[in-house]
Symmetry: D2
Subunit: 377 residues, 4 copies
């Protein structure tokens, strides 16, 4: 693995490295860890990168690695930069034959997303988008149960992602995470809607198997002087006639990261809450609610395949993240070995999810700009 971004001062880079390392199958061997070449090099030294593969720029990394003999060069790049530096390195990597792991939202603009989708299809390379939450084993279970039809037709979805960390003008303090996320030049058209709204959208569509067809969004910026949205309340409609609510916020003071989803069908439904990710509440019209737990014998095969420890040993965010890396790596390895990957590993967010997310951002921002009118997705 060669990492792009994730050096000093970064947050998500270290998460990627831990997630990639958890199963002992992926090794960080190269990096261009910052947009500033000097900091990139220093950051690579922090991580004891081989100096020869500790690059100042991603262009240099991709160029030099692509010239290394097969088997020596990196198999894939992991892009953990702010949004405006996703497309270019992804394109360059794909054009040079490297598989790609990329942070979400996938690109800076919808057009970039479409172009990237085409490039992935043309090159036939493997592309994973790190919508971490769908890596949780319980999300696999939710998806399996909801799509089995056991609850009847899905009628309603409530998905919410409230955070509170941007309740104050944190970007004015120079805090790095806040700064780029609230900067239209680095984040794109959206603030909270891109940063966490796409997670909510991806989670809802992934577990239900439904597509949002239109939405109506009340998009707000509560903190004075902030350049992008920090809150959005969205009415959503799905392709099967289901309705729903999606709301996200970064000014819900006191909230941490409790992405939460409820799906209701005719006969029952599910509720899952990221703060307690190993638990899912399964509700029924006429019998007691059941509490599903990961690591148990009654879990479905996909959930079991994405769990590392027995029930009662909590797994968390890094393990969910690790599932995306592991599956991606298994598919890449199968590709290298010239065989079909095991179907259980063909399970991670793809470039198509990324296009969908960028379309969601555009639709929400467009709707918000028209005083919350309905916009097709």
């Amino acid at each position: 693995m060669g990492m792009i971004g994730g050096g000093r001062g970064a947050f998500i880079g270290a998460v990627h490295r831990m997630a990639a390392g958890i199963d002992g199958q992926i090794e960080l061997v190269a990096g261009a860890l910052d947009v500033n070449p000097e900091i990139a090099i220093l950051s690579g030294q922090d991580l004891y990168l081989n100096p020869e593969r500790n690059y100042g720029t991603y262009q240099e990394m991709i160029e030099k690695e692509s010239k290394l003999p097969e088997g020596e060069r990196i198999d894939f790049v992991s892009i953990v930069t702010p949004n405006h530096v996703h497309y270019d390195p992804a394109r360059l990597a794909l054009e040079n034959g490297f598989h790609v792991v990329c942070e979400k939202p996938m690109t800076f603009s919808y057009d970039e997303a479409v172009a990237l989708e085409k490039l992935v299809q043309d090159t036939g390379l493997v592309f994973a988008l790190t919508h971490t939450y769908t890596g949780y084993p319980m999300i696999k279970q939710a998806r399996e149960m909801l799509q089995s039809g056991m609850f009847g037709t899905i009628r309603k979805v409530v998905v919410e992602y409230p955070q509170g960390w941007l309740s104050t003008p944190l970007e004015a303090t120079g805090q790095q995470q806040a700064s780029w996320r609230t900067d239209p030049k680095r984040s794109g058209r959206a603030g909270s809607v891109g940063d966490i709204g796409t997670h909510a959208e991806n989670l809802a569509e992934t577990i239900t198997g439904l597509k949002i067809t239109e939405l109506c969004a009340d998009v707000s910026t509560f903190v004075e002087g902030r350049l992008l949205d920090d809150d959005a309340n969205v009415l959503i409609r799905f392709d099967n006639g289901a309705k729903g609510v999606l709301h996200v916020s970064q000014v819900s003071a006191g909230e941490e990261n409790p992405i939460n989803i409820r799906v209701y069908g005719e006969k029952g439904g599910i509720q899952w809450h990221q703060h307690d990710p190993n638990t899912m509440y399964v509700k029924w019209l006429d019998k007691p609610m059941e509490v599903y737990r990961t690591g148990t014998g009654y879990m479905g095969s996909m959930a079991q395949a994405h769990t590392r420890t027995p029930s009662g040993h909590p797994e968390g965010y890094l393990e969910a993240f690790g599932n995306i890396y592991r599956n991606f790596a298994k598919v890449v390895q199968a590709r290298i070995d010239g065989r079909e990957p095991d179907p259980e590993f063909l399970d991670f967010p793809t470039v198509h999810d990324g296009v969908r997310g960028m379309r969601f951002i555009d639709a929400v921002i467009e709707s918000g700009g028209k005083n919350a009118s309905w916009v097709k997705m």
Copy 2:
């Protein structure tokens, strides 16, 4: 107290009687307990009503009671009928000098609500609307804290009221509660929006002290053949600039009655959940969440005045309901005694809340009818 409605087959009448009785200060002495005079009489016999005051119709009750000597006649009527039989008995009672307790939504139509408001103002009589949830002591606490400004300006409100009991066409089985609530001739323009949406609206406005100024509602009927809405997702905006989401449902299969509200200000906020009504979560930007509990020494005076037992002895729905009756009765008694009521008792939903609720119903249904456009409230 003379009760109108609440006889055989009714649900809420018995709740009113228990709630009124809990403090030992209100006695049911007369009734016209069903629209069918025969059933009314039988129902009164079930309750051992004095045969002379067990009336066949509310008209008869009000007429005869009003002719009894002061001190012998009922002090007030309690109207627990379906929505289409709220206005007429309320009007008649007020015109004959009786104070009134009335179920929500207050009337069948907004016009009736306005007329009733005028009548209450003209007569100077006491009128209480049984929005039960605002009777909970913790709701008093939430109101006090939110309106104190301790959380800064309120930015966001999320209020939800999902039920599942109408997930099937229960009205087709003749079930009495389902039948009238889904019947436009008895329920009014709205189904779920009137039955539980007004609770959500009232709760949000009561605790924040803010007013909803406009809303955008996606109103649905999921059960085939049903004549009124059974689900609604609503974007709301408040008069101080706060935004919010209000969603209600009677087809959220597996949900009981978990009305839930979250309010976020600049520095923190609160969360309250009716299933655990003695607990409130108080969240802060930069310190641990606090768990407030009723019956404790740190609760404010209004919460304490509406709590009957020490902390750890759960109080519930009937006690909250009882608080409305107790306060109403205390104010009526003060009126009878010719003195000002203690301010702590001047705390129950009034005819103005009722007008507001009817306006809410109209706005939501109007917005829903226009494919979820914004409607002023």
Copy 3:
């Protein structure tokens, strides 16, 4: 109903009155509300008792009421005094033909308890002991499920009742509730063990149908100068071979009143927590935990018969208490009417529970006095 104790400054008397009043079938018509006749009279005036039936002493009340014509006199007395004033009024009431409701622990000493049991048996009168917690509908459900054998043989019971309100020497401030509970002359041999330990013992034996056969208790007094125990940790063994732990405390700072019980059988078990009394967790070896909720259609008939509202409308402590009063009153009424009571009402703690509780107190205190040796019960 004639009440003995429960006047000014009392806590539990008001609870009894609300509980008795909740179903509208029991009326407080007489009282001897304090040991001090003057305060007794003033307390009765507070409650608007008929002056002729507002007595200075319980002896006077029992004597005078017993001379009233049948149908006019009270049907039963409710004894809500400190422990040392249970036996005498109960005996006098029974000897004069009155049924009795009595607070727990039943008497001051085990000998009194045995004598009272004999008197109840000899007179054939109805006697209810207010172990409130067994009045909860979910406890009926737990009892039914555990005794059905659906979990196999019961192996382990963990019951705990931690409170924190006596963490400081509150009795030194003159606080009335603390004062008598820590006074050997009024409370008896035990402090926390009598006040709340008997609740825990009664709950465990009631729902399992098992009997504690021996116990080993580490009894402590943590607050300096306190004359009775304020904490006890007890190993228990049951007559079927099950083992368990029972621990109670009044110095568990920060705890309110969270009596909690877990019972494990071969195939699964239950957990119930008084702070959320409408919920029971049902655990299974090999399938998801189920969350039972009162007011639902799947609850057993006894639980349903002791629930007043639909699911999702929380009932609490007063309703559980009210169930004891209602059942007692129904049985008394059947006795008055000369008919057999409906079996569903023959369900409240009796004089035998009271004897058992007093034996428990003696056994715990004896064991504690012998450095936690095993004592047979």
Copy 4:
């Protein structure tokens, strides 16, 4: 790292490898992964061990590794075998200059534990015992707060560790985990008491800083034919006068792994539950309970130093385990570098905890054998 045990069919070996790998600083380079040399070799091949360092026996591994040049040989061994194969490999490793990570309970017998303690002291090598639960950041926080005196003198400790997985005679099916844990020849004198009781004991002593001075244990075997205990209820007394209850079980059907601890001081206390390890409830006599969460700014420095992600991103069992490995590795590295380790890394269970655990096992089993008499620890 060279691993002893943890090959095919093992459970905890893989956990150790993931935990050791999570921070990217420890590499598995050698192993003797099974007691059967053939299976050992096959297991090493599964993990792509270098064939030259994939050993058939731990003796061979230690011998050969010790002859490798410094810098090439392993720095430490990790012993993840059943209890009867802890002491010999640990001794051999220490005698050959290798640092040691060892599974709990530390040895087969108390005598072995004492011998090992002496050997660690004599060699000056680093020894870590994997009592995983003390690796959680919230446990660091609990320890800091409890030992700060902010709650006053500690009075009561309730620690419980109920599991249900041995509710049936699972060992009779040949299940590997059940088989050795219930076999006196491999597990030692104790079953549940050694396997999970020592975790409970270690947790209680670690966070309070107190020592258990004596205990009284009711030890049971519920499953017929089982050779070791599967349940124990223990009264405990601490060196400062605090009292407590410790109960463990492997026949609490339906329980997963919910190790739970509550500590009460004069002014308040804490509760922590492993199923939700990022949360701690802090209770107070006279103010609202606080909910502490890892990853927040108000956490103490030690908790922060053991957390990898921001609040709201759940960390779990593997991260807690990883903290032990990371700290151990940091201290080993400092030793190799000839410098003092950073104090924040000097925080993992040591050989002294192991001796204490073995003493606990002996005391509980001795007490149980004498019908639950008090035994000094």
